[in-house]
């Protein structure tokens, strides 16, 4: 029985960025429980000031190598809203298609390569390849498909090239779309096997009620644009995003924390599922049933299961979008021309890790005057710490090793992207 426990995980592994977990328990009482974000501060908002709006999506996609398409999308939506640019139907379909590619890419990476090793009691995907070669090869196949899908639309996944204000500088051909559609259909088998694998995993049993926040739309499972919606009944226009996020600096984190009405809230796949599960593709709903997911689910470890459900959804939606684009034919469209009038706009989307905001003020000279970016991992940090504080007393008697493992798995379940949130993650137990 651990009356005293000191945990100090310096740089949590298999997460994007640098964070430390610190736990300190004395005489069975939890005195300290923190997720320190020790990533170097990045200053993207300051870097955008004074630069042409046309560069913003290319600079901000460099916030994150994993959700580069997501940052580019939020950035473009912010500029497009500020400048009053309307997207064509074709551009919308392509924006959605590349977005689904990124959701699939990121979720495969997280569920198979970062989370699955914990269930096989190995340290990484490399020994996993020895134990479960079929699963690893399947993951690599699915990731290649997702990357190729993004490359078909945007030139490449990490730091897409062709996405621009008002549309795209390059368009896929109908033949490319047909070939991609065929590969997506083939991928259903890999997807079925993925659901079959993940439903056998013994997810840790831990629940804690919190508020879940996601974008929602009347007619679809929202990824780009929408209304900010919470499981506590909150509904906000995108322009009012600060009423939800209420960012504040905390000393132990170079990423700011956020809170709505409670002490914290959660964003990400589980939050999207909890807010919008009825709008999932029927096949994705079947996967949710198979995985035992039911809204509102309050076990944060099941965020990874919700990601598996979204992978099904993204594959099926991608097939639908390919069909639509093939039926319409691809048409070259005129590029947007700046009219010499600036403005202010908020762009929001549901990147793999959750709700992302970019907010720009653009001057009449086409240069960015002010910029603000609020990243999903930043919004989750306070919620992760609240989970840690609830979880540790429940398992304190299991000893340091198990508590450390449970906490690392918890942090990992949120799929944190610390470079994005600034750059941070290390676990310390004291």
């Amino acid at each position: 029985m651990a009356q005293n426990m000191k945990i100090d995980v310096h740089h949590v592994t298999r997460v994007e960025g640098h964070g430390n977990i610190t736990v300190n328990a004395k005489n069975g009482v939890l005195e300290e429980c923190r997720l320190d974000i020790v990533e170097t501060p990045r200053f993207f908002e300051a870097m955008l000031r004074g630069r042409p709006y046309t560069d913003a999506s290319h600079i901000t996609s460099r916030i994150c190598g994993i959700c580069a398409v997501g940052h580019a999308t939020a950035s473009l939506r912010a500029s497009e809203t500020a400048l009053g640019v309307e997207l064509s139907e074709q551009a919308w379909l392509l924006r959605k298609l590349i977005f689904h590619g990124e959701i699939l890419d990121s979720h495969v990476l997280h569920t198979y390569m970062l989370v699955a090793p914990d269930f096989f009691k190995v340290g990484s995907v490399i020994p996993l390849a020895g134990i479960a070669p079929d699963a690893v090869l399947r993951a690599l196949r699915m990731k290649k498909l997702a990357g190729d899908l993004c490359a078909m639309v945007g030139g490449r996944h990490t730091h897409p090239i062709a996405m621009s204000v008002g549309g795209f500088t390059h368009l896929p051909t109908v033949d490319e779309l047909k070939a991609m559609r065929a590969r997506l259909i083939d991928a259903r088998k890999d997807m079925d096997e993925t659901v079959a694998l993940f439903k056998t995993l013994p997810w840790p049993q831990f629940t804690r009620e919190t508020e879940y926040v996601a974008l929602s739309k009347p007619d679809e499972y929202a990824f780009i644009d929408g209304t900010i919606t919470t499981t506590d009944g909150g509904r906000y226009h995108l322009n009012d995003y600060r009423k939800v996020t209420n960012e504040k600096c905390v000393e132990h984190s170079s990423s700011k924390h956020t809170a709505h009405k409670r002490e914290s809230y959660m964003v990400g796949a589980l939050a999207r599922f909890n807010v919008n599960s009825k709008q999932l593709h029927p096949k994705a709903q079947e996967a949710a049933d198979a995985l035992g997911l039911k809204a509102v689910c309050t076990n944060p470890y099941l965020n990874s299961a919700a990601q598996v459900v979204e992978m099904v959804h993204s594959i099926e939606e991608s097939v639908k979008i390919c069909d639509e684009l093939i039926a319409r034919g691809i048409k070259k469209e005129d590029a947007y021309k700046f009219a010499g009038k600036g403005g202010t706009g908020v762009g929001a989307c549901e990147v793999p890790r959750g709700l992302l905001f970019h907010n720009y003020e653009i001057g009449d000279d086409g240069k960015i005057v002010n910029a603000n970016c609020i990243i999903p991992t930043g919004q989750n940090l306070a919620n992760i710490e609240a989970d840690m504080r609830a979880l540790v007393p429940q398992i304190l008697d299991q000893g340091q090793e198990k508590v450390t493992f449970a906490l690392e798995m918890l942090v990992r379940a949120y799929d944190p992207c610390i470079s994005c949130s600034v750059h941070f993650l290390d676990v310390k137990f004291v």
Binding site: H11, T13, R14, V15, E16, G17, T40, P41, R42, F43, E45, A46, M47, R49, G50, R51, P52, D55, H58, I59, R62, I63, C64, G65, I66, A68, L109, M113, L114, P117, G123, S124, V125, I126, A129, L140, R141, K143, K144, G147, G154, G155, R156, T158, H159, I161, A162, S164, T169, H170, C249, E251, S254, S419, C420, H423
Partner: protein, 247 residues
């Protein structure tokens, strides 16, 4: 015995390490020829006996210098992985404005809580043996460099401009399409991927040795580009070099 390699990251998006992971999709046999002993983004195992270190990211605070110097001491070969490590990359855009302004703009009156200094490439702190350019790196080029390093050869990084590869692809010139492109002075090796997708080169691979600056100036003048437009593009990935001019 397989050479032991390790991956490290400083200030970056980790997209280059992700590209390394993605290179396994087509080159899984890479794992047959090297032993990866440390790669925090992808593995929990951690060995300190590496001979080759791939380092992603720029150095943006003094506290990180010691860690980089320790890596340099351990590794026989240090390879800069991607534009942030190689050039300073986008992180160095912040060097163009007064540091205190930048800090206060993002963190307000709490800015002193978070340490930072002017972003720099890793070569500003330690000796670097080789570099893989690009934002992000090109996965095929990564494989070529690994092969060369394992064979004890100089990594085959081109020192001719992007225009060469762009011409070979028979692309229409970005300038002729009314665009703006740093291809004439930027190091090739990317397959001219940005102009191929109809976006001008942004210079992420850095300048070629002895760029023909006069010819570049003529092109810019001919196409009527403003100093502002040119400077914005020149400082997207190369702000560190730009901020060194005149020093």
């Amino acid at each position: 015995m397989k050479p032991k390699v390790a991956f490290f990251d400083f200030t970056s998006c980790e997209g280059c390490q992700l590209t390394v992971v993605d290179s396994l999709q087509t080159h899984l046999d890479l794992l047959d020829v090297v032993e990866i002993v440390q790669f925090r983004e992808a593995m929990s195992e951690r060995g300190e006996d590496y001979a080759i270190a791939f380092v992603e990211g720029s150095i943006t605070r003094e506290a990180d210098e010691a860690r980089l110097k320790q890596i340099r001491e351990q590794a026989a070969l240090v390879v800069a992985l991607g534009a942030c490590a190689h050039l300073g990359g986008v992180n160095a855009i912040k060097n163009l404005a007064p540091l205190d302004d930048v800090r206060q703009y993002v963190y307000g009156d709490k800015h002193k809580w978070y340490e930072t200094y002017a972003a720099r490439p890793i070569s500003a702190v330690v000796k670097v043996d080789a570099f893989i350019p690009g934002c992000p790196i090109d996965r095929e080029e990564f494989i070529r460099v690994v092969k060369a390093v394992l064979l004890g050869k100089k990594p085959p990084i081109p020192d001719y401009p992007v225009c060469v590869e762009c011409k070979l692809k028979e692309n229409n010139c970005m300038f002729h399409k009314g665009g703006f492109c740093l291809g004439p002075v930027t190091r090739a090796g990317c397959g001219a991927i940005c102009p191929t997708y109809s976006d001008g080169c942004e210079g992420c691979r850095g300048a070629i040795p002895n760029p023909n600056q006069d010819a570049m100036k003529d092109v810019l003048k001919e196409h009527g580009l403003t100093v502002d437009e040119v400077m914005a593009r020149m400082t997207m990935f190369n702000a560190f070099d730009a901020s060194q001019l005149g020093k």
